[in-house]
Symmetry: D2
Subunit: 337 residues, 4 copies
């Protein structure tokens, strides 16, 4: 089987690095083009841990150059910047997996929570890249909106219980993320002294992943649940733990529902004891645990925020778009211990 | 004013150490007797950080000896061991602040969640030592049941909103504690490698602090709320963050309710931005923040689990029992940075 | 005894905060004036952990205002800025404890490693504020050069062995500091993700504390030892561990030499087992351990970099300058656990 | 090329897990037998992070069973237990890579620092498995003594400079290891609260890796250098940083010597800036940096203590013993960020 040439646009951040790390050893993809907004360095100058492993030159990002070298591009860019590139690439017949928020939401919600949308043309054809719900559509897509990290862990945890939920009851999602989720930017809360031995909520009930979660749950269930999403910052580098508090209409056997729902899932592991962040760090797995007291459910889901919450899920989507096995090249062995 | 002689029984653990640290510099209390189950060491052999600061001999715990030397004793013992001592001390006319769970619950609840109660005689006179709700009773008490760390942070967060809560709606409490909360014992989850760069729930919906919270809320509100309590272990040493998810009957101005409720509180700080564990570490403060979306509230409360959640709250109780100012000797300056 | 009015210039950083925390409860000093380069905030806006504890207004720093309110000023300013203030304050008859590097070195060394010196007039009268070596001079000083954190821990460790050292052998100092040592500034190496689960040397053999250590050892011993100083950054917030590798001329009983040297020291604890950072965190203690193999010595010294390495040592110096007991108000109880 | 069947004896610890993680994806080795002293579980029961990835049954260790299934065995056992197995396996014609200390030292040194040797017969044929010095001998060996983690990082850092060292001067090695180096055992120093926000030396000048380093340096250089080895425990999970302090006879160009020595090395990366633990975590690389002041050298080397310091180096040795490319299946992509 011939190799498929791919491009990474936005190689300087954490998700760009994770894409490189996955694609270096991918059995069917070859990194043919790699770019940042500046270019002019080598990959190992950007990321010294890649020395002696991956030394390719990094270009100044240019869509036409991408189209010359690759048939699929991963965009690890900030929102707004991403849609500019995506539009141009799609017109040049390059498939796109966009890791930003630009194609995740319906137009109105996007413009309310982010900014004016500059590629309305392609917005409607974008497929939300959560393989557990849209596998067939992903296989036929040209443009994937790769889900946010919080929505991935939240939706996968809540999904099996949607048919049983009390429609009048609010959903509470208490989410906890490692600091890598905030990116490489130097901000006061990412200073070691600020977050080490500390924890706090941020943007409670106002985070932009709240409308993403609410919209997807509404699309799936045809009911507009009240979603209350509270993210917290954790004193650790990578990984995410999401606690969802749900109320059902009737008493169900929550463990059985969860097991049945994910009986055939490739990248969801149902756990009998509370999930741990570390068992998923370094992998594309989402681990899920549920317990209940009567009609009140506690669902705990864990992912690697940079992998299942970004880069490895992006490669799963790319695998599906290219007719490959979804597991091809996907990391499954955790950073444990 | 003459000094009041006090004793510490159970000096080897973290809360015992915190009691020593507070009482060394207390303006009115003098540590006259200090004991462990073994004795035969000095305080700085037990806790090397006390070298050159506090070198008193540590005795093998004996209630009669306590009674000879002290008028008030702090019990930093495991549950069950504590009630044996408390009983004897009270009969010898020594006042007791018990940091264990032995006198916190009504008899039936205690025996369901812990073990048979061996001091039913004094159980009914014990006062639950949360000064924000029982100040006057504490001032007249001989026996204080010092609250658990999780109940302290949870109840203080929920208290102002109790009159407004939807009685049909469950309360969800997502609590996060540093590892010191689990004590010095060598357990697999306290191993550095197990919890560093990790986080997980434990005993979800089954922790023994759940009935403590539920009972106190019921006693105050005269309604048996459904309380769902899920504790998590955090990769940090000290401090606790508790997120409470509440539903009100009508839309209230939650920030105004919170501010009004604690307008005169000495050891509760109402915050305008989400609370941080570190701003309370090393102090007796409970910091509280609230925000809301319609009738759904998110309350975030932070304490130092070893101080407000144990030892400094115990000394506040002792202050009140002895007619002192409640702030006497109480730590208020945080371990920041 | 009447209170002595003091000022803190440079209240926004970590050492400024530590000065406030110590002076709030100091028995003889009163904070009468507190300033930053901007002013116009309250102390608890600068440092939210001070809410309900210390709410004083923070001024825009002005030497004349200092002189109206205080007889002694602590300067917690960057080097260069400090000497400008110090000069003006001394001319206004205000005593100065300068926490910067501006008066620590002889002129030539200062100008080689920092910048041109703008207060040569007072440089010669400045006393290097390490009480273990200059107590009497500190008591009579108007201007104290408060030692750097690395030099404090290094010199105190090496001092007892100076008379025994092989003059031809280089001294190697392998020093490790928590991230708070680098200050609040947002830098790539202080980003949580950069230093968490990591450690590395920085400025090896080129750090500006190397000439400070070398100069002081030379002044004391009248021999210019070759000092090789290698600092490392540690993934923890506060505290410092310094390993000194020494060679003696003859075989000595290093433990006995160490014990004898510090037999009467107030703030040095000689340890029989390797020292730990945490037992000194929150205190002014320097803990020291030594072991040897023949003529090769390993000396391990630990301090709190922000306290013994800056703010509490500054207050000890101020105590001595004002004829107070050196222990007045000095923190001695560690942040353990 | 047919797969080579291998066995892992001692699968429950960290190095056992790392062996599994490497061998799962190895292109030429197949794990045919896996055992602990107890057996009777599955691999994912031992290590929950392996769920859905590697579910093989774990046996009660038995040498004869190993010989039926595998041609090469990795022993991840405590010292003493290892030599019992190794002896039996060699007699059954199974090649052995022993990760314990049992075959690393000459007889006298072993018995002085460990215990009586019970397999003197094979001790003399064991090859010390540091590929940078013994590649050819490893290729022909039946029994490999896999080096200790500290010796690996120390020797690789010092090796290039051995010909230039002052033979009279002591070597000082200040080594720092993450907590995983101490294994899974529950010990007071591995308790999260004991080591978090802390650091300390342990067994200074008395650690059993000191004679291992000294012996290997002596064998290579034909001179018995005085080696002073001081290990420290770091508050992080994996990785090791070793600072070596050396003195040369003449002034050399240390950077040039280092670069030249490792010009063709596969798994040593010479760095121009001080090395970082994290850039090696998850890989078999040893990163090395050197700087100097006259004849005094500072060499800083970093490895992943569980990989280059144990399991991945073991697989490199196995590759060489089996005539494979030394890089086959060896992890080279770091756990960054």
């Amino acid at each position: 089987m011939p190799k498929i040439d791919v491009a990474i646009i936005g190689a300087s951040g954490y998700t760009g690095l994770e894409l490189i790390k996955i694609l270096i050893n991918h059995p069917h993809f070859t990194i043919r083009y790699i770019a940042t907004s500046e270019g002019g360095v080598s990959a190992s100058e950007l990321h010294p841990s890649l020395a002696c492993v991956f030394e390719q030159d990094v270009q100044k990002a240019d869509a036409k150059e991408v189209a010359k070298h690759a048939t699929l591009a991963f965009l690890a860019l900030p929102h707004k910047a991403a849609m500019g590139f995506a539009k141009e690439l799609l017109d040049l017949h390059v498939k796109v997996v966009d890791l930003s928020a630009d194609y995740r939401l319906e137009l109105e919600a996007y413009e309310k929570h982010y900014c004016e949308h500059e590629d309305k043309e392609h917005l409607s054809e974008a497929v939300y890249g959560l393989p557990e719900i849209h596998k067939a559509r992903i296989q036929n897509a040209r443009l994937i909106a790769n889900p946010g990290c919080y929505p991935t862990a939240s939706i996968l945890g809540i999904l099996p219980f949607l048919p049983y939920l009390n429609k009048e009851a609010p959903i509470f999602i208490d989410a906890k993320s490692g600091v890598s989720g905030a990116g490489k930017k130097l901000t006061p809360t990412a200073h070691f002294v600020a977050i080490n031995e500390n924890m706090f909520a941020y943007n409670p009930l106002k985070h932009r992943h709240e409308p993403e979660i609410a919209e997807k749950l509404r699309q799936i269930s045809a009911h507009a649940f009240e979603v209350n999403f509270i993210p917290h910052l954790l004193p650790l580098t990578r990984g995410m733990l999401v606690s969802s508090y749900l109320q059902t209409d009737e008493t169900i056997d929550a463990k059985a529902v969860l097991r049945a729902y994910y009986a055939d899932a490739t990248f969801v592991r149902v756990r009998e004891t509370p999930v741990e962040i570390k068992a998923t760090a370094g992998t594309n797995f989402c681990d899920i645990f549920v317990t209940q007291k009567g009609k009140s459910l506690f669902v705990s889901s864990a992912i690697d925020n940079l992998l299942r919450g970004a880069s490895s899920q992006a490669v799963v989507n790319a695998n599906l778009m290219c007719g490959l096995d979804e597991t091809a090249g996907i990391p499954m062995i955790a950073y444990v211990p």
